[in-house]
Symmetry: D2
Subunit: 301 residues, 4 copies
């Protein structure tokens, strides 16, 4: 077994390219990856929330995974979103991702039966998946989509498992990030999911981020990480402040829809979202155009 690479830095949770007939477009995927490969991103997450994972068939998922493994640069850590609603299906998918060459699995909380997803049920779920997985897993807590928050006492317990490598916490709460860092065992990694509070989360001990914003602005996100790690507080804060409006508009408000629109404007391939998701309206498109223009004007200076 190869040595585990450190889960540090900025990971981009890639969008899934569809063509105009709503089919997976692997050429477009490779085209995007060629550009991402040239950045200092630490790795990629495939089939996460930004990747419209929940809208893909299993056949599409496997096809996508195989293509990413082939096209990604060797220095990028590959993480597959492998969660299904049942324990056994999650295990099957996680094993398949490992077979294909993924280094880590990102496992979202099961969530449909919200009121029954007690800490005990979740602990049991993650233990079983981690026991059965050939690769380390990351817990994935994204309350805005699932209604479920993985809190510090559960993380404290789960961090003891040798095959649970960390958590992606998308709550946006810096206090929670700090608590997770504080309760977890030493080499458990806290990655945050919100670019809006990335700088502050790094200050309180997060190891990095899986940031949808890095799909559109990988260099800025990486720079924010590097400035923060280098202790250049004033510059990091200023960059964080510049990034905030884009993070809110491209990620928090319209998710994959606005992200794909922005990618198209930035020379990546975005393409359509899958229904029931709908293309961005005129007002939102104009708002994003202005935002991107402002960012590029600043970068040009």
């Amino acid at each position: 077994m190869p040595e585990r690479r450190e889960l540090r830095g900025v990971f981009a949770p890639l969008t899934t390219p569809f063509d105009s007939d709503d089919h997976l477009s692997l050429p477009r995927l490779r085209q995007n990856l060629a550009r991402y490969n040239a950045t200092r991103l630490a790795g990629y997450v495939i089939t996460g929330s930004t990747g419209e994972a929940i809208l893909l068939s299993w056949a599409e998922t496997e096809e996508l995974w195989a293509a990413v493994v082939e096209a990604a640069a060797a220095d990028k850590i590959l993480i597959a979103g492998t969660a299904a609603e049942t324990t056994k299906e999650t295990i099957l998918r996680t094993r398949r991702a490992a077979d294909l060459g993924f280094e880590v699995a990102l496992v979202r909380t099961p969530h449909y039966y919200q009121s029954q997803m007690t800490p005990e049920v979740l602990a049991d779920y993650y233990h079983r998946v981690a026991d059965a997985s050939p690769i380390p897993i990351l817990i994935y807590s994204i309350p805005q989509y699932t209604g479920i928050t993985v809190e510090a006492p559960l993380v404290e317990r789960l961090s003891e498992h040798p095959n649970i490598a960390g958590i992606k916490d998308s709550s946006g709460s810096v206090q929670r990030a700090a608590e997770l860092v504080s309760v977890a065992r030493r080499n458990f990694r806290v990655l945050v999911g919100s670019a809006s509070t990335f700088f502050a989360a790094l200050m309180v001990g997060a190891s990095g981020g899986i940031l949808a914003l890095a799909d559109a602005l990988p260099e800025a996100c990486v720079e924010l990480y590097e400035l923060s790690m280098a202790g250049k507080i004033a510059e990091a804060r200023a960059l964080q402040e510049r990034i905030l409006p884009a993070s809110k508009a491209l990620v928090s408000r319209w998710g994959a829809t606005s992200m794909k629109y922005a990618l198209d404007r930035l020379g990546y391939y975005g393409g359509p979202v899958r229904e029931p998701l709908r293309p961005l309206g005129e007002v939102a498109r104009r708002e994003i155009d202005e935002l991107l223009a402002a960012i590029q004007a600043r970068a040009a200076k």
Copy 2:
């Protein structure tokens, strides 16, 4: 095309029987149906939330549907839960249910990308599904699991579609039920999903209910419906009050888990729930035992 039957009365959203190896058990299903067939239930919902639909594979779903169509009495209206997260998959499933002989499709709101499920997106989704469906559809609003509530203005609009027959509203709000009745076109049916407020919902104009409680206590639920429709207010209210604790314990608090436990105690087949769901704890089991004993003592008088 046969004449549409009225969506009135009490429908039972059936549990899905698994054997001890976590496989579908069609013999157990038939055994339960034999008993339900002898009641005055108006029909059955298969692969709803109580049926652990979200935990079934597509192959299991088809197998289950076929078995129900075969085993159900002819006077029961059969409703299949057909929602997937994508529009096209929902349409495929709805067509398959129609092919197999289901009379109505129950279509839960897509929900993972909650913040993007605006009334416009939902309207578009339901229009497309209804346009493509050979059988009438019911909108399914269950905010406690999806985070999404279908509100009256959207229902007003959707009720105009000739192939949208009604809504199952599981919010438990009697005010909402009254509003839905008030805004919808005349032959649009409002079915509620909460036995706890069934009597009041009928009083404000609901046509019936899809009541998980009817899995365990079909006769009591049907009696409550009939007393309410006959204007026997005092008796209906008294029965509603007797039913309330069972509804809260068997349905609201632990969902399919407690329902299956109760079914086992009542001579139906309940059996295990599928992981990550977990068997009921000792305290909850004892509470339900006492509840059922009280109900049976009263019935024996």
Copy 3:
């Protein structure tokens, strides 16, 4: 001590009239009361939420109370809102209301320190106030303003106190109303605070309502009560449906502000609200004008 009158029927929680200089206007109060006295309202609540109680000084409160006692017809039950944030101040006010001739005190939950208002703290509070009060008290639960809901288990306990006569539950939940009726001792009264679900609440056993809508439409509210009590279900339901839009627009959305505007349009005195509350905007005014025109057109038929 005179015999207690039954807390049944419709109570109007009166607005507090201010003149254009923001002073209490007792003449305007008497003018309104003269009209209300001629209705079949069961009584009045003074200094409730609709009465802008929280915006009045103690001197104004006493002045208002005295004036109401003088001007109200003898057949009306008078209820004073007497809650302050401290236990001792609530007791002082309750005693003063009793001295002035009020028959019942309506005691809102203390609420600023929300997270500390546990059932134990609230039980203790209500016991102390009830022990010290010369007149029976009503618990007042209004979560939309206080963030605190008085739930059934606490009501079960409090209903044992001989000086706690009932509860005003403004949550709008018919299930809660049914539960409160079910758990409380026999002569404990459940009055609801929402005209939008008044009919359904009466069906499940509520004794009546303290309905802000009755300030503007006392006759319709009383008629809804009487039809419901007489078992005229179809007529009651139809009237409930007619009342619903007015209840939402005049009460739920803009509170005292829209109520005072409507009163002015209906020949009562509404007058200004007190700052920081602000007069209704143009759009809202027009919406209410249309609503009232529709109601009057129907009444004229």
Copy 4:
């Protein structure tokens, strides 16, 4: 008019000492102030949420204010909580505080009529108070008690007023703190109310904090501020982590109740809280004892 002092650093929102008969105890207040005067606290807030302001009569408030002005050291900035529910009463109180010698007024959002407290209403309220106040005011946003959050767009607008000096944001959200810093004019101060995220808030540009925890642990809070400002990130983060459990236990969970208990254990005067608040239970007391013992053990090393 003297030059305005900078609102920077750590402010302690003082508890209000009551004796065993529930009367204000000014000797106890002076005793506490004597100790606080010897710290590097930037100033004091009197009659804030921790000071049980909402439970005090106006006469008590004035008495307390006068005593604090007399007993506080000259280098401490004095801030009075002056909010009432009406605009005119808030103005009266603010003027009185200025007369007595307070340098700044802390003005909580009016909140009882939550749904009507729109940004427009709040803007109007703060403008009127600021226009009428002889001293600069601080906006006070504390959603956990009021249900109302003052968001960035409103702050952007209010920060233009020359007599609105800043905001105390008690939401605990570091993202909001960052946004407030970003949108406000240059010399508008963002003070946070949560010691749990103080370090992160300072990193994103907050000027300081009004921290209840500083009542019990003023030196640690001041040290955290100074380390953060000096760019000693690792030490600041470590101290933040040590402070977190105390902040949650003494402030977030039981408010003034646990704070007064802790003060008694630490040699300050805490004394009883006022009813309906109740003394801390046995379990909570023991938890706090252990917490304080751990802190003192560490400090002794």
